[in-house]
């Protein structure tokens, strides 16, 4: 186990070395392009490639929902994702605005200020992982960070390979969910980051029902009992008020996974994100699926409280 775990660390070292090699000549050439990005997935990828974005959208919510990598302090906040503040951008336009089809309606207007590129990993015909790799390489090409992108991709492949090895024995099917209120969850299925993880690691997704364009279905929690043997992995954070309400929720308390202590909680991760989010999710899944779940959560322990 320790031998495998040191692998990402080695890669991180390689990244550091490559970073040092590539930034030196770039500085001599010219100033790096100033990039503004509306889409959090693009923001995540930019920061992961070592670019310091000029302006990005909705930093407070990025910090709550995407979390990592952290946005540098010097980066400007340019408002909501679907309405980048043009009065702000017009005063000192960036060299490039990266946005996605979801958040833009009228790019002709924006192009009077600066070049606009639509980049994301969802509005394509390609499967998630392929699309995310293409997106990462495209961003790298635009910012002159191709070597860093290849390192990031290699690192991600290594993390996935490590996860596949670590999860080889894990036969239990698994629901990966995010609570939307105490009675409903978004359960992730095929065709997104989660689907990629399941197919690359041999984990079985317990949810086989239909999903929407973003790869999840909104379902009442009682449907999590359809596969009684399954494990439930909850992506935090909870929406407000949910944690308290789950204690009284008879369905939740009676779910086979909850009664058997097969529920795990993982740190916030952006399930529509890029390679860093994918790596974080893979690591979290390895952690919870290979270790016996610790019964540290109030909801799990309260099953005992309720037992007659």
């Amino acid at each position: 186990m320790p031998r495998v775990r040191s692998f990402p660390a080695l890669l991180a070292l390689a990244v550091a070395v490559l970073l040092g090699m590539s930034t030196a000549p770039a500085d001599a050439d010219s100033k790096p392009p100033r990039i503004a990005a509306a889409n959090w997935t693009v923001v995540e990828t930019l920061v992961a490639l070592g670019v310091e974005p000029y302006a990005v959208s909705d930093i407070p919510n990025y910090n709550a929902w995407v979390k990592a990598p952290a946005i540098p302090d010097s980066t400007l906040d340019m408002g909501l994702r679907n309405e980048p503040n043009l009065e702000l951008l017009a005063q000192d336009p960036p060299d490039l605005l990266l946005t996605s089809a979801l958040f833009s309606r009228d790019n002709a207007r924006l192009e009077r200020l600066m070049p606009v590129r639509m980049i994301d990993n969802f509005y394509t015909d390609r499967p998630y992982y392929e699309a995310t790799l293409a997106m990462t390489r495209e961003i790298a090409r635009l910012t002159g960070r191709q070597p860093q992108a290849e390192v990031l991709i290699a690192e991600t492949d290594a993390v996935l390979a490590h996860a596949a090895r670590a999860l080889r024995g894990a036969k239990t099917p698994l629901y990966l969910v995010q609570f939307s209120d105490a009675q409903h969850v978004r359960v992730f299925g095929q065709g997104n980051m989660v689907g990629t993880l399941f197919s690359r690691t041999g984990l079985t997704n317990a949810w086989t029902g239909p999903t929407n364009a973003w790869g999840y279905a909104s379902i009442p929690i009682d449907r999590l009992a359809e596969r009684p043997e399954a494990r439930i992995v909850v992506i935090k954070p909870y929406p407000r008020g949910v944690e308290e309400a789950l204690g009284d929720n008879q369905i939740w308390q009676h779910l086979p996974a909850v009664r058997a202590g097969r529920v795990s909680f993982i740190d916030p991760v952006w399930p529509y994100g890029g390679l860093i989010s994918l790596q974080r999710l893979a690591r979290s899944l390895v952690d919870v699926a290979t270790q016996p779940p610790t019964a540290d959560t109030s909801t799990v322990s309260s099953v005992e409280d309720q037992a007659p």
């Binding site: 909501l80 994702r81 000192d92 409903h184 029902g209 929407n212 909104s218 008879q250």
Partner: protein
Amino acid sequence: MTLRRRSPAWFALALLLLAVGLATATLHTRFGDLAGVWWQSIVAPDDDQIRQIVMHYTFVPRLLVALLGGAALALAGCLMQQVLRNPLASPATLGVTSGAQLALVVATLWAPSWMLAGREWIALAGGIVAMLLVFALSWKRRLAPMVVVLSGMVVGLYFSAINSALLLFHQESLSGLFIWGSGALAQDSWHDTRFLLLRLGIVVVVALLLLRPLALLDLEEEGAKSLGISLRKLRIAGLGLGIFMTACVVSAIGLIGFIGLASPAIARLSGARTLPQRLVWSMILGALLLAVTDLAVQQLSPFTASLLPTGAMTAALGAPLLLWLLPRLRVGGSRPTPSTGLTMPRLARPHLRLWALAGLTVAACALALLVGFMLDSHTLYPSVAGTGDLSLIVDWRLSRVATAAAAGLMLAIAGTLLQRMTGNPMASPEVLGISAGVAIGVIALMLLPLGIAPLSGSVMGFSGATVALLVLIVCNRRSGFAPERLLLTGIAISSLLDAMRAIVLASEDPRAQQLLSWLGGSTYYASLTSSGWIVAIALLLLALTLPLQRWLTLLPLGAPTAKALGVDVDRSRLVLLALVALLTVAATLVIGPLSFVGLMAPHMARLMGFHGARHQMLGAGLLGMLVMVTADWLGRNLFFPYQLPAGLIAALIGGVYFMWGLRRL
């Protein structure tokens, strides 16, 4: 109309059969594996059999909660309609549901620990605050029915505007409230069932005690008064009971709007005459209506990846039903307060005040163009723009200011036309459902997979408005566009939009944020070209409207008087309606359907003393521009770089003024 000795029993029986059929189907599809142990699962489930647990804690409580909630809402609506002598009264039209929802959102965001004490008490507090506000606004008019409903709708609009602003900034953390807000009935324990059963029982008992005096309200007011009844106390007691019932339902199962309005109407139409009959049949019909809708939703849900919220579906199914009922509904007894009752003394020299208003509007435009945030390397500071920033002002501020002004002008004129035409202080493009029609068209474009080039938002919006207008005309032609009928039709169309909005929001589609922003009335997408067009259209329509003063002066005197003075009433109403539609479509497409300005500006003009048709129109137009431009400026700068939609801010600032004006009546 209701001459035949019909009884609601037939309608109720049909609904009951439908409910039983659907319930059996649901049992077979969802719990077919438990066949044979259904009864055991309901009464005493095996603790180790998760399927039995699921059935015990979801299926049965959900059915009961639907029945109880429907009955409770119908009871609340019936009480409110009886007290106010107004078939338009319902928990939603009185602002109670919006108040309850806002209280819950505020508590969730800033005082989550209060939620532990119970959502229901927070919702109740919100509902009571809303109703107290409505009482305060209509107190001086001795809680006259139309003034109460008018106040209720204003309060409701105001609270939902605040609510939308909060949702805009906290979409991710409030996603649960989207689901709750659209009335999803999913249950996880017997808690809600017990909760509702107890409350409903208490309210029914109290209502029975009040039955005799309440029934006397069927007499004319004078008659009831001569019997020694304090109308004010009786109304407060009846309304209070209704609010309490509503708050209980809202806190338990969310917003379910349509039942409270429709069940009493259906009961009355199908032959329930006396108050006890109406109460009983309303409750039975309400219970069955909600249960049938919810069972139908459960049948559909396995086929979709997104959640179908029952409350919103109720409204979606109920709106056509309400439209079908309209020609059969007798809206009598409560003539609207004549519009002259809502005026301040006539001004001796309105011109002076008009010029002052124009000056103020110009000043607001200058402020909106020149003052904003400037960027210095990485710091932002508020500042007056200099000559060097001309391109910033022209490119990115002028288009928004011009769009806001044009939209404000058009909505204000549309509102003035409607209020003068119908002699009804509640008329506005929004209440008539034309804005809603535009919005339905645009949302439909978003939802349907119709990414085809020729189908732009404006085409779909225009189609929506045309359909709304056709519905208005078809439903109202025979009655000669009588004011109350027109309003009811508008409410039905608007409730369809509310339903669609709720379904989109609860579906957690990430595009919902964009929709919210447009619904709130953002000028973000205005360009110089589009604002040029919109200004030209606004001026053209203004020029078309100004020569119609004669109609606008004579129509408020009532159809017979106007006819006697030589006005072709039907034709003039049709022309004015067409103008209103054009004005509303143009304004709504750029600034969304939250056209509170259309309701507000004409009133503000009248409160300022602009009495004559032309003066009121110009005054309202200037006020509409003033409010929208100021709102747009505030929205762009209050939370820079985050932007609030102008329509939302207009509703927030205008609402305060409007309530102040109402209070002075």
